[in-house]
Symmetry: C2
Subunit: 212 residues, 2 copies
DNA sequence: CTTAGCTTGTGAATGATTTCACAAGCACTC
DNA sequence: GAGTGCTTGTGAAATCATTCACAAGCTAAG
């Protein structure tokens, strides 16, 4: 398959969110221009993004909201559920476990892990927190798709190593440390301190960041 | 000032984090290659990133860890503290309020707001949760620099409008909705559902996302 | 059946970012 | 103080992403 820019995939995710809202308001079709407006981009960008995957609209008419939703869900791989384990049951792990955005899009939390004995055995959104030492056995058994790391920075790499060695192929890292993972493992990082620092840069160097 | 790519600023933030760790281990100098290794990029990229802002190294020697730390902190605008208000005292807001990465980098939480009377008056990391209706008055008085939105998607735009109208110039959005803000306001969004969806895409379309 | 009015899909052009490649500069040695 | 070994800083080249611009296709109207 040809390479697809990450920015394209990110926009597809936003289009999908808007399409779902838009469908709920009763609209049956939508033009690339309307879709662009919603996501803060241009109609050409929308059409280009979609063109990498096929041709989903009707000239003169636009896109059928429902069909395009389904098509994007298929492109993103959301037609099937994904099982997620959360590692680290601190505040951030707990916040993610209850995050509605996860469950409504077909991401199911099948396990929460922590190393702190005080947390092990407690329940988080209906899922019992287990010992980090169970990780390997549980991954072998449950074969979860995605591991979300919500542990302190100094513990993150070791856990990433463990879960990838145990067979996990996708990692979402909330620890403030850049991770290395084996080739073939999908990795994303959310670094909240970095986001704030980009804002600080923008405030300090007014107009230095390109407008989007 | 010339435009600086967001990707450059993001990498500077990572370099800084590594430099701080590296300094703690007692190293006095570092080469662009070592710095690149740490951030998963190339030495040429490191040098190019820095070159937009000046010339900080010594040929043949590399960079003085401490001097480069200071230089990057200056570039990012971290030589002064930034005050932050958190809007929404739910799980995510609470997790952020206690997030160490914020405070250690000079971001101080000066206010937490919620609309739920049950939460108003409670304490979060030493900060009393106040009523959302106090926002305008408090912003006028305290002049916080950054607002972090941790509210449900359907409330986010209205609150963004309110805080920007009240004088906030930077917004970090954790709500799963794309926001519109007035020109001149710095905006960043962290969308956890989108991050998971990018991972799902990567898992589904193996090798379609460019390796980084 | 033909025309008018939209809107898609897509090569080509532009713009942005990354990588390359190398001259210039510094420290250390002999 | 000339030579060697590194490493920076930076134009130029290459790659990647976005925008432009327009032919092609669809619907509805007459």
């Amino acid at each position: 398959m040809k390479h697809i820019a990450e920015s394209t995939v990110r926009r597809l995710s936003l289009y999908l969110r808007f399409l779902e809202e838009y469908e709920a308001t009763g609209h049956a079709t939508i033009s690339s221009g309307e879709l662009a407006e919603s996501g803060g981009t241009t109609s050409a960008q929308v059409r280009k993004d979609l063109s990498f995957f096929g041709s989903f609209g009707k000239r003169g008419m636009g896109y059928t909201v429902r069909d395009l939703s389904i098509a994007i869900r298929e492109i993103l791989g959301l037609q099937r559920p994904w099982s997620v384990i959360i590692i680290g049951a601190g505040k951030i792990g707990a916040a993610l476990a209850q995050y509605r955005g996860f469950t409504t899009r077909g991401f199911r939390v099948v396990g929460v892990y922590d190393r702190d004995p005080a947390r092990i055995g407690t329940k988080l959104e209906g899922v019992t927190v287990r010992a980090e030492s169970d990780l390997e056995r549980d991954i072998a058994k449950l074969k979860p798709d995605i591991a979300v790391l919500c542990v302190p920075g100094d513990a993150a790499q070791a856990l990433a190593d463990r879960v990838t060695a145990a067979g996990i192929h996708a990692v979402l890292n909330f620890a403030p440390t850049p991770l290395k993972v084996p080739k073939g493992v999908a990795l994303r990082a959310v670094n909240m301190a970095t986001e704030l620092e980009i804002l600080a840069f923008g405030l300090t160097n007014d107009g230095a960041l390109p407008v989007r």
